[in-house]
């Protein structure tokens, strides 16, 4: 019989880490410049795919990087950094290629329709928006905003992954602790982290409703609502995850 209280008590700190990770993921989605389906027709500024799918793609690249590094080096900062950098590299590689296609395949320049002047480059924006569109491409401000989003989201995902790995490898009384290389543990933790990432990137998509350009978009101001919702949603998720992964440790990793 697994002692649930005995499982949760030593892992309160890691539950808190998972909750913070979920909140970070939720905030990060607001930073990522997504244009949804209209961006695929150069009809809106941002990356031309859905909010959740893009955030999940970046977050998963972060989880793959964090998982690879966690196996080699269990330093807290290094694993979190690897998650953030993995997600940033994915978004940067996607955005630069999207810019090539917008600039040379479609023949439009990157421009924002939400601000008159780009806050970073100070370039005039409104004159460069083609008729009947809400901007197109990925201007510098959207690029930088997306990178910040990738960094936060990757760190949030890596934090949840790191916390659950620590829960799984903790030395509970009367149980031989699992190793960090245990394939079943890694599989369960990675799968849970992905599900956790999806949940926390769906919540902010109700704020975003299709498109957002980044931190300069008026919709960005709505982020506290999503952050609170994700914070609350992450508490039961964190508890359930700790019980599930901790139980695996009790079972000896199967």
């Amino acid at each position: 019989m697994i002692d649930i209280v005995g499982l949760i008590a030593p892992n309160i700190f890691w539950i808190l880490a998972i909750v913070i990770g979920g909140t970070l993921i939720s905030i990060s989605v607001h930073f990522i410049s997504v244009g949804g389906a209209p961006a695929a027709m150069a009809q809106a500024t941002g990356i031309g795919t859905g909010t959740v799918m893009l955030a999940a793609g970046a977050g998963i690249a972060g989880i793959i990087a964090a998982g690879a590094v966690m196996d080699l080096n269990q330093n807290f900062g290094v694993v979190l950094g690897a998650g953030g950098v993995g997600a940033m590299v994915m978004l940067a590689a996607t955005m630069i290629v999207a810019t090539w296609i917008y600039a040379y395949g479609v023949g439009v320049m990157p421009v924002s329709a939400k601000v008159k002047y780009d806050p970073i480059t100070k370039y005039r924006q409104d004159l460069y928006v083609s008729q009947g569109t809400e901007g197109h491409g990925i201007p510098t401000v959207a690029f930088v905003s997306s990178l910040l989003g990738g960094l936060l989201g990757g760190i949030g995902a890596a934090l949840a992954y790191y916390a659950l790995m620590k829960v799984g490898t903790y030395a509970y009384s009367g149980v031989t602790p699992l190793e960090v290389h245990n394939l079943n543990l890694v599989g369960v933790v990675a799968t849970f982290t992905i599900g956790f990432f999806f949940i926390n990137s769906v919540i902010p998509s109700y704020n975003i409703v299709g498109t957002i350009e980044g931190f300069h978009d008026p919709k960005f101001k709505r982020w506290p609502k999503a952050a609170v919702a994700s914070f609350i949603a992450s508490i039961p998720l964190g508890i359930v995850a700790v019980i599930a992964v901790g139980a695996l440790a009790f079972a000896g990793g199967l």
Binding site: M41, G48, N75, A98, V106, Y128
Partner: protein
């Protein structure tokens, strides 16, 4: 593993990833499964009957994630249980995934076109017969390449994730990248070639896709031919960069050697990201100067 051999394996992984990205985008172009499919779906409702294959089984990331998981599961069963050689098993796994994808494609187009009967959109059986094998061929290429990427990562570079899980994850990432890059070439350019070059799609023109081809009526294979010249290969470059650069930074500075190397690898990643950001800014500057504004600045004229 020796760093030099690791680099060689990584080069192979990068090449496989590039093929995976290119074939993923072309698969979504020929079958029109992408954000740009919203226009194909909309066209009959606006009175534009077309002969474009219309399947959108799910979002591209989810659809590719499923395909790669099916392929990797099949391959792993063959390797572990039946003792097949890995290369042979990966091919058969990809074949199973392509067949599943083909069946989903047929049900998707049948369902989608049937639901548009009230707009007089016919179901072209010859279109289904000619396009489905092409879709399956590209699905096979994508699945096989993603499986190769995952297999080499797990069994040669010692990535800790299980093989099937890693295939699933790279499947989602390849769909995410393909949906964000190559589809723009289909959606913003190929589907609206009758609009002037160098503009985004005017919202009032939504649904007015090009329906006449270079010869006869345009179909998905015509779109494939066009997008394979720029959108597809560029998607390949993008996914290749994601896989290669993300792994390269931890091979150059191996975090196993200590915390300093771990931070150096993260720093290298940040440097790469900054370089790409500066490049993006440079293209923005260049295109603004070359293409010029769409409107005149009336405010300044008045003040002058």
């Amino acid at each position: 593993m020796e760093p030099l051999i690791s680099m060689g394996v990584l080069a192979l992984i990068g090449a496989a990833a590039t093929i995976a990205g290119a074939s993923e985008d072309l698969e979504s172009d020929v079958g029109s499964q992408s954000n740009a499919n919203s226009q194909v779906q909309l066209a009959p409702q606006m009175g534009y009957i077309h002969r474009i294959y219309n399947k959108a089984i799910a979002g591209e990331p989810v659809s590719n994630g499923m395909m790669c998981t099916i392929g990797a599961t099949g391959a792993l069963v063959l390797i572990k249980h039946f003792g097949f050689s890995p290369l042979f098993a990966l091919v058969i796994g990809a074949l199973i995934a392509a067949m599943v994808h083909g069946s989903y494609s047929v049900t998707a187009i049948m369902g989608r076109e049937a639901s548009q009967a009230r707009f007089k959109q016919p179901i072209y059986l010859d279109l289904i017969r000619s396009h489905t094998p092409v879709i399956m061929a590209f699905a096979f290429l994508t699945t096989f390449s993603v499986e190769v990427v995952s297999y080499l990562m797990v069994y040669s570079l010692a990535h800790p994730f299980p093989f099937v899980l890693l295939s699933f994850l790279w499947g989602i990432v390849v769909g995410s990248v393909g949906s964000a890059t190559g589809d723009v070439h289909l959606g913003a350019e190929r589907q609206f070639q009758q609009q002037p070059f160098g503009e985004g799609l005017n919202a009032s023109q939504s649904g007015s896709i090009v329906r006449k081809g270079e010869s006869g009526l345009r179909n998905g294979i015509d779109n494939l031919w066009f997008c394979s010249k720029f959108g597809g290969p560029m998607t390949g470059v993008s996914f290749g960069m994601v896989v290669f650069l993300g792994t390269w930074i931890i091979l150059v500075f191996d975090p196993k050697n200590g915390v300093v190397d771990g931070w150096l690898s993260n720093l290298l990643g940040v440097v790469i990201v900054i370089v790409l950001g500066v490049w993006n800014w440079h293209i923005e500057k260049e295109t603004r100067e070359k293409y010029g504004p769409f409107k005149e600045d009336k405010g300044e004229e008045v003040s002058a």
